[in-house]
Symmetry: C3
Subunit: 378 residues, 3 copies
């Protein structure tokens, strides 16, 4: 407990924890103040994500590489998973899918690009383990293809097509989880010497003792779940108030909020010239979401949501994911970086963000995703 | 003849030759037993393909590199060519196109991926000549673009569009054959020293004497043609009986059957740590089909089929070809391999196979391909 | 003036300058002789482009790298810019967009491919600075994505969509110019040592004195503007007379005419085994057009044209740009070249040229581009 309080005192980000009780109280007292609740819930999620991330790392540090890797996979994107589960229970499939696609795009473009830029402004040229970057990019490429197929196939809206998309999504979900597991086997077990330089622990932050870490993990997860509920309920109305399109909120705002803690680690790694850490977090987190979180959500949707969720995405989301992954693959191919490749990645992100921001209301997430759900609900 | 019998005795695959007379007899006696005929014809084609492949190599071994390369190009994919010609004569353009696209996808993903996996399970890291992989990938990339253009252009179904697609297909066919020829000139003549390590002969299998090889070539080709006819006639009804979609049969079953012999060589090469041989067979065979077999079929369709065949493919086939070639290009780029890149390639193949297997009947190869044929047939 | 006359005497290309007064006179006397005016204006633009190119280089040589780079960006593609401005004033948005897309495709495929081929026929293997090729390819990739987004987004033809496309195009134009500026900062300032071998000046051609260069720049620009007006007015009717489709003229003929001078420099560099120069001109010119000329035209269209121009392109143009840039990125990735990669690039160009040439009239540039303009004009 003392370690926890000490951590909070020295990390200004954690001062935001004061907003956790504030937002929960406000949600009870003023359930209609959507804009206020949105702002408060964002402010509360960020420090909780940071705590969750540290607790996970502390548990992983104690259990060795193989188990630690599995834990990281299961818990690393816990914030995103809890937000998505909350949205899943509320049958907000469009928001779930937008946050999956948004997290992949934000991690591969914004998190990676800003790491390259921030690292490159301090160091002339930086090097990183290109094998790791290639394996992660390969997994992301596989995931993009797997998501593309049901999206393309379900272009007609017949019942047969909806059933096909549903069955295919379940099969692909299992396939992606298997691929993710084999990727971990490859990088943590059979060929771990090739990934060597990516194995640095995070310098400076001491891991917590096991008991505290597990307690924090449990407690913080509950808090994230409670705050996420407020966030998911308020985000759409708040977006209207801010003049932001729904697509912009789902892709950009939710992704930046959900990934806040990982971004802090990635950027700090880049400034310390430990770009392997940054690339590992950015691409690793993206492939976790694509090959673990998204498939798990599909499988869980059979038990939680009112109807099963499929993997067919809005065509705009597919285009963004495809180009984000292709750009990241091409940029990380050489294993060297400077500030300019970072700018290139950020520019591609800005192109997408600008298009989403300006998108007129009727154009937002048109078509299949929403319609398929409506059809399935009947 | 003794050499032939000796070969048959030592190669268990060739024991399947007994099914050749069986299937031909069965086709006469029970022409309505589609499922039986399908199974028998598959069992008969596999050993014939193996014999054809060995006979071709024996002829090539005697004639030197340049002529041998040309022979390989003309004869290497003879099984596929004969199957396709049989389907062409029966005006089954959808099956022809599905088998072309399927062979490209199967060779670049399944054959290459399984070679990497099987080789990687035995050898920790394997290296291969990346220049050869690049040239083949470059040719495949060109072919994919060339096939994409008429497919995209012929989206309206007017008569003018059909005529345009037809003219364009003929022009592109000539272009692709020229590009294929120049690729052979580059790798066999002007820059052959760069491709050096790919020039190993196939160890262990002695070439046949010339007379036997030529006789086998002629005789086996006739047998393949006869069995292919049974195969093409039975495949669709049999597929229904097995509950397989027509698309799955065209893309997956026909391709695996047609490529059986080459796969045996590629996998054995990978186990012997001669990955250049495997990559050469997998990518080389794919580019042969894309830049030689497919264009030759277009040109022959002016003389054989009831109407000329165009190069416009079903959009699903285009997507699969594009991603198969792009994945193979990215994976072979480094010139090094292990088991995991093999898994990645196989997973992409599984994604496609799963989608094709689950595809509801009405969705199968919708649109242009079929419609264009109907239009042309009038 | 003596230097100018001396230059004209030794450069046979410049003898074509005689067609400048001829075409201007002919346009006054026979304004209806479209085919004649088209041929004469092409013959007149080529030498003017060569002079403009040399004048720009002479000014750049005097002002040092940073300013010289900026000048090159502003003036290097002056011919294309003046042609496009003339078409913009005549509200021929389809021609403007076709010439932008055509210049990108022609420079990345034809200019680069022919350089590789011509260089490779003389030298067995050639090397070039792959860092420069990567930065240019990265910029082109960004531009392709930026152009793709409004094209995809504006698929519905509502007023809201048109307004969205317009706003987005303006935002993207600013973004691309910023990216282009940062790219120059990177290659000319912060990391110029990495681009070292690309810094050779053009051997053999002495720069002109500053006064002559500036005078030539001013005078020739006026002449190009005058001749371009004749060219833009005559090109469409002339195309009909020659039996060429409008799309073929916009993409192929205009691009080859506009880039004639740069091609002469690029090819001569490749023959002299100075492939850095060729790659720099081909990819550099393409990225100038995509990230500087096109955005500037969008911004200028608010002041010059009858209605603002957007960045939504005909889907065929998008496909060609995407594959041209992807092919160039893959081919230049290794930093080595021979004649065959050049053939591959030229073959992709031929595929596109053939499709455009054969395209039936009604299919030409269908849909959005034209319709959006019509809508905006109301």
């Amino acid at each position: 407990m003392k370690a926890l309080l000490n951590e909070i005192r020295h990390n200004p980000l954690l001062w935001l924890l004061v907003f956790v009780p504030v937002v929960l109280a406000a949600a009870k007292l003023k359930p209609e103040a959507h804009t206020l609740l949105f702002v408060l819930s964002v402010l509360a999620i960020v420090p909780l994500a940071a705590l969750l991330s540290h607790a996970t790392e502390s548990v992983a540090a104690k259990t060795g590489d193989a188990v630690g890797g599995l834990l990281n996979a299961t818990l690393g994107n816990l914030t995103e998973l809890v937000i998505a589960l909350t949205a899943l229970r509320a049958a907000q499939y469009t928001l779930v899918k937008a946050s999956i696609a948004g997290a992949i795009v934000t991690n591969t473009l914004f998190m990676l690009g800003a790491s390259f830029l921030l690292g490159g402004l301090k160091h002339h040229v930086q090097e990183f383990n290109r094998v790791n970057a290639r394996v992660q990019a390969g997994l992301l490429f596989l995931a993009t293809i797997a998501l593309l197929v049901p999206s393309l196939a379900s272009q007609t809206n017949s019942t047969a097509a909806a059933e096909f998309t549903q069955k295919l999504s379940l099969g692909l979900a299992v396939l992606l989880i298997v691929a993710y597991g084999l990727g971990m086997l490859f990088s943590l077990k059979t060929h771990k010497e090739v990934f060597a330089s990516a194995e640095h622990g995070e310098e400076g932050e001491k891991p917590w003792p096991m008991g505290l870490a597990l307690a924090a993990l449990a407690g913080v997860t509950v808090l994230v779940a409670l705050v996420s509920e407020v966030f998911v309920e308020s985000v759409q109305k708040a977006a209207e108030a801010f003049g932001m399109s729904q697509a912009f909120v789902g892709f950009i705002v939710v992704s930046l909020v959900g990934g806040a803690a990982e971004m802090a680690s990635a950027f700090s790694g880049a400034r310390k010239n430990r770009l392997d850490l940054s690339v590992g977090i950015a691409l690793g987190s993206a492939s976790q979401i694509a090959l673990f979180v998204a498939p798990v959500l599909v499988i869980l949707s059979y038990f939680i949501g009112p109807t099963p969720m499929s993997l067919d995405f809005w065509s705009g989301a597919m285009v963004m994911m495809f180009f984000a992954v292709l750009t990241a693959a091409l940029v990380t191919n050489s294993g060297r970086s400077a500030w300019f490749p970072g700018v290139l990645l950020l520019m591609v992100y800005l192109v997408f963000a600008m298009a989403l921001y300006l998108m007129p209301p009727r154009e937002q997430q048109p078509g299949k995703g929403v319609e398929a759900i409506q059809q399935q609900s009947k």
